[in-house]
Symmetry: C2
Subunit: 477 residues, 2 copies
């Protein structure tokens, strides 16, 4: 089932859909629709027959019921921050965008049970803030947290920098409310730690990118806020040292190790060159850097001493050349900013071909080594900037163009390089999408990456949930 | 699709199935089959046309292919320790038991990636031992760990005493290999921390009780072994104090709080009366007890001091009347044994009607209070012994008969009492099965407990995976 098989809805259908949300919350004018049809990096431009902004779960369900009856394609959309085009309609103009941003209620906070029940349109940073003002931590944290919404976060099983200790969106979700293709509403909003009563529908919807149902609300887990945090920045002599030092840190710190990010010198050079108010925290350059964070919900946990022990043991073992521990909150922010800027500064260095792969943690150095060799063979002079969530085995393997090359010529290698890099990741037991999802960007790649049997099982599930193929057709599958 | 709709396989089919595993690994003799047809508490007795013990994933797949072609019902079975009858065939004698206990290989240990790949027949305690001998922890721990097998543990999403900090079987599983109804094998044995490439099939199979496929192998997470553990036993004046003290402990200790179990005085009385080598750790009796464990993967974590702080703050706040911290490994074992014996000692007090419910953690006291009132109304003199995993909101709400009542008369109330207690759990947003699953025991209850729409979605999934209904028919759904 692809987008092409669904035709443009009739005017009567469009009018009926508008009546569900009211004229004030429907956009028919193509110009006014633009913000909902354009991806923020301008990579995807779509068209739509209509943009609807429902104000309740019942309205979302009513839209789906009518869409299902009339075979109208629906594109669910949250904060429109996705990186794989899952939230953008295709070019046909036949689809209807259902934007969830009006569903922003915090339905419940249970401080004893450590849960929060929120609607899909709540911005992630607002969910974090509500948790914080209740003295709790909602740990999910990503670059787009200021605009991405809980519904999209869950539909794509978003990751980020806190996955190492707290897990992905999936791991932080206890229950869901989902509007189904036929207009039914599944009320799975239970805040239970344990529930072995039937199939795990929750995890099937999470990460299904709006192709099985539209998430309208969720029960999320809250955790104690850290009382102590230690942030350290270590210069490493070589990539294998990152693996050895990560093993050392995770073995001793367990889940007090709340972040372990990897950065190459080239990436730091880019940040120092293009980022405002940045400085190299260490006196001389190193081939690789680890940014690590330890945290504990209690005072007197001894994690400051632990960080010093880890770093000095790392130096003795020849893993670390030099390191610094942040002495203030301001220094912590400075260190994190080096990591956070690493993606955006690359645009100042010309074209960049990107990957979001995962491999088993122990295979990360091998993956980067093989991919770097390959890049040098395929595009001599191209500059790999592999960085990211080392502790999750998740590397954003970005490649900046050779300085002198024409950007368009370089970017023409996108698919060929993708295919070759993904082959290495798959060969190492990895995934072609660690945290960004499939959307439309990787739909064809998925067909190559997955066992045919697995794709067939996925299609069977899709047909069971959405026999008319109205839910985000042409995305993911 | 229920067991009744499938007829007895022909002799030719049975012969073909036997040839797949070889005569040495097939049991046709009804007498020799008995251990595979009887549940360990003698609650369920089934019949089977055949018991097969395949020696490889390929043999499991070949069995399913033939069974699917011939509409032969298959009952997957691991260590036969389940509490809801999911692993026992019905009385028709038409079903074929597929026992996985020969699949015991440890396929891989990845110490850097902290994963272990094991086959479905490996006994849980053996998996724990392999992890321990590699210097790691596989935290899942349950009463039946000496005989339950990984396949069954995953098919039922087993829980146990370590769920509070480490999660259920689901949370400790990174990948699966599953034989499907049509004989295909899904190879999902990736040891990735992050993988957003398509629907989450893993979590759909986990907890599906063998109705969607047969799990043949799994990649499990390993964790650092605790370097320090502190076990404490606290006497509480009332049930609400358990909730307040749990909040205090979890807020300060975070995930260093690795167990928080609840026991009533009556349960402790039963243990002291019927358990060998047991003694009351405190000098006078208390209405309720909390058994808590703190642990850390590192020396010098300060959790001993933390435990003392928590207990003294609990005393000051009027939550705790008296408490003891284990001073040795032997004392730790003694304290845990009081909890572990709590289920089995109840049989010495006559008939016991059992429940395995979950409610949001904050509602546990309310649940127990309402259920106790109800029991007193329905069966005056009956003795509730609610105990279990307080920190997970999971209470084994067991009720011992009035001392003078005839056991059969008391047990005749099983279903009526179940229905009433489950109604309270559901009313509080809870579940009728927290960790034991549905099997055949709670299949009819499930139909009452779930939203019809949810049951319909589950049936659609079942039909998509097993259109001929050969996989554990009549269980769960």
């Amino acid at each position: 089932m692809t987008q092409e098989s669904l035709k443009r809805p009739s005017d009567a259908t469009l009018d009926a859909l508008v009546r569900i949300v009211g004229e004030d919350h429907a956009i028919r004018d193509p110009g006014a629709m633009t913000p909902y049809l354009v991806e923020w990096r301008d990579r995807y431009f779509g068209k739509a027959a209509l943009v609807l902004k429902p104000g309740s779960t019942a309205e979302v369900a009513a839209i789906l019921k009518r869409a299902n009856e009339t075979r109208t394609a629906i594109v669910p959309q949250g904060g429109n921050t996705g990186l794989v085009g899952g939230q953008i309609p295709f070019e046909s103009g036949h689809e209807v965008v259902v934007n969830l941003s009006r569903l922003t209620h915090v339905r419940n906070i249970d401080l004893e049970g450590n849960t929060i029940t929120v609607e899909a349109g709540l911005v992630l940073a607002d969910a974090q803030a509500v948790a914080a003002s209740a003295g709790r931590l909602f740990p999910l944290s990503l670059a787009s947290e200021g605009s991405c919404q809980i519904g999209g976060v869950l539909a794509t099983n978003a990751g980020g920098t806190a996955v190492l200790a707290y897990g992905s969106a999936r791991d932080l979700t206890l229950g869901l409310e989902v509007a189904l293709a036929d207009g039914g509403v599944w009320n799975g909003l239970k805040g239970l730690r344990k529930d072995n009563s039937g199939y795990d529908l929750k995890d099937l919807f999470i990460g299904s990118e709006g192709t099985l149902g539209i998430i309208t609300a969720a029960v999320l887990r809250l955790l104690p806020r850290p009382a102590e945090t230690v942030t350290a920045f270590a210069g490493l002599c070589h990539l294998d040292a990152a693996a050895a030092f990560f093993s050392r840190a995770s073995e001793q710190a367990g889940r007090e190790l709340t972040a372990f990010e990897l950065m190459p010198r080239r990436g730091l050079d880019f940040v120092l060159k293009h980022g405002t108010d940045t400085r190299d925290p260490l006196t001389s350059p190193h081939a690789w850097y680890a940014l690590l964070e330890l945290s504990s919900p209690r005072e007197g946990s001894g994690i400051a001493r632990l960080a010093e022990t880890l770093l000095s043991e790392g130096v003795e073992a020849g893993e670390i050349e030099d390191a610094v521990i942040a002495a203030s909150l301001a220094q912590e922010r400075e260190l994190w900013r080096l990591r956070e800027l690493m993606s955006e500064v690359q645009k100042h260095e010309g074209g960049s071909i990107k990957h979001d792969v995962a491999v088993p943690v122990a295979r990360v150095p091998e993956f980067i080594g093989r991919a770097n060799q390959l890049v040098e063979l395929m595009i001599p002079g191209a500059r790999p900037v592999p960085f990211g969530h080392f502790g999750d085995g998740n590397i954003h393997y970005n490649v900046s163009q050779p300085p002198s090359m024409d950007s368009a010529v370089f970017l023409a290698n996108w698919e060929t390089l993708n295919a070759a890099v993904h082959e290495i990741a798959l060969d190492l037991g990895g995934s072609i999408s660690a945290e960004h999802g499939i959307g439309r960007l990787k739909r064809d790649l998925l067909r190559q990456a997955k066992q045919p049997l697995e794709l067939e099982v996925m299609r069977k599930i899709k047909r069971a949930f959405d026999p008319n193929g109205i839910l985000n057709p042409g995305k993911l599958l």
